[in-house]
Symmetry: C2
Subunit: 306 residues, 2 copies
Amino acid sequence: MSSPFAPRIEAALARAVALGQGRGAEMPAPARLAAALDHAVNPGGARIRPTLCLAVALACGDDDPALADAAAAALELIHCASLVHDDLPCFDDADIRRGKPTVHRAFSEPLAVLTGDALILLAFDVLARAGQRNPLRALTLSGILARCSGMPGGICAGQGWESEPRIDLRAYHRAKTGALFVAATRMGAVAAGHDPEAWDELGARIGEAFQVADDLRDVLCDAAALGKPVGQDAAHARPSAVAEMGVQGAIRHLSAILSGAIASIPKCPGEAGLAALVRAYAERMTPLAPGSAPDPAAAGAFAAGG
Amino acid sequence: MSSPFAPRIEAALARAVALGQGRGAEMPAPARLAAALDHAVNPGGARIRPTLCLAVALACGDDDPALADAAAAALELIHCASLVHDDLPCFDDADIRRGKPTVHRAFSEPLAVLTGDALILLAFDVLARAGQRNPLRALTLSGILARCSGMPGGICAGQGWESEPRIDLRAYHRAKTGALFVAATRMGAVAAGHDPEAWDELGARIGEAFQVADDLRDVLCDAAALGKPVGQDAAHARPSAVAEMGVQGAIRHLSAILSGAIASIPKCPGEAGLAALVRAYAERMTPLAPGSAPDPAAAGAFAAGG
């Protein structure tokens, strides 16, 4: 799905990748790892987290666009890092991601581990560089990103739950998927000088919707439309909304969550525009009326890991 | 080697690990990953990077000790993360680190990947939390740490060189070992409000000395004294100062580097104290007079990955 923010996001990511690759730097960088950074980031999926971040920043006035761009890029870098590590042989052992070989298949397993690490670090480098005008905002962004990605409640924690004998489902979903969406709305607000807390509910609800939509796609799509293997939740015995409430139940649940997301948008200058964007995403995310046949093309709009 | 900074460093690391484990947090954290964080950080090695950081901060006046402590802890967290990932089966495939099982042996390979990721992220969380009084300093610390750890010139880049068909040896050593020592001196200065550039040479020289000392230990020590396997450089055909200039040549080189390190210390209030500390480290790092027999006990003072 092409959003009005796509040019800003792609430009910010291109600058970040160039920085990580050391183009123009004094010392040479290892060429294969440099190539792997680009492979992991481009071409992207739906870039939904940076889009959400910039949409919130714009709704809040976007008075430091360079910082908002850095926040958006940092979010996507962390997301890409999590996909690269998630695809490793010791996790999902995936061969295909976004329709092309995963990083460990295209390069090697050591380079895939390093690519994930380097993308995480690059995210914080990007924030530090963009924060000279508003260092407190940038530092706050850095803290939000670290907490929503790491332990005890971020993406790493979510992945960590999969190694536990008993999973706390609420903590698992909130950490694995929800946290980075909450980071996206919070970071958009902070980049524009607004208070982050008011934006938690929007991020949490979109994250929850995204998880349910992902569970549905894993059951309903074929691998070609999705750009990655299907049936992974069942194959890895992972908890899933579909396993819990069935396909129709999950679709109804998704609708309810997205309505709640729109209702939760705080009063702000760009409230109407943001609601319209979330509504457009909601329509793409809910392609299946209960009882209808799956529509892989529409579902594919959110394919390839977002 | 116990330094006067050990209590500050261990307390800062204990706070960081507790934060990552989510003690007292609202949502539960996955218990095995939480345990793995502690396993990776404690008990530590020589903690040489945080010691160097605090020594420089003190030499510069140490006017925000909480921020200096955070910088020291962040450095060590990144160092521990790099060891955990470096030990993975796809890199060194090491069973033992600091005299106990490596994280992937004690827990699992997925948990070792996640532990490294979580420790990297925790480092930035710690800096963000400690920077409320001096946000610009904290943001600068965050940027230095990211650059010295990631691509194109940090630890990840150093590791990445090992996947290249032809290694640029200068870039390799500077990135793999030197960068985090330069980060240590720079971060100590910045935490205390001083300019970082003047401290680059001290960090670079100590890093170079450390690499040469490490190469010597890999050849001269036995595994029991070192707490990890020996002969790894030869086994993995890695570049090494010993391979390049022989044992005696490497020892002479190490001495020369350490003298240069002491001479490079900038004028500052705590110059004499810092020189004494570097001299003490130098004596521990250079246990072997040319022609003498190896002294595993003395060399072991810097064992276990520092």
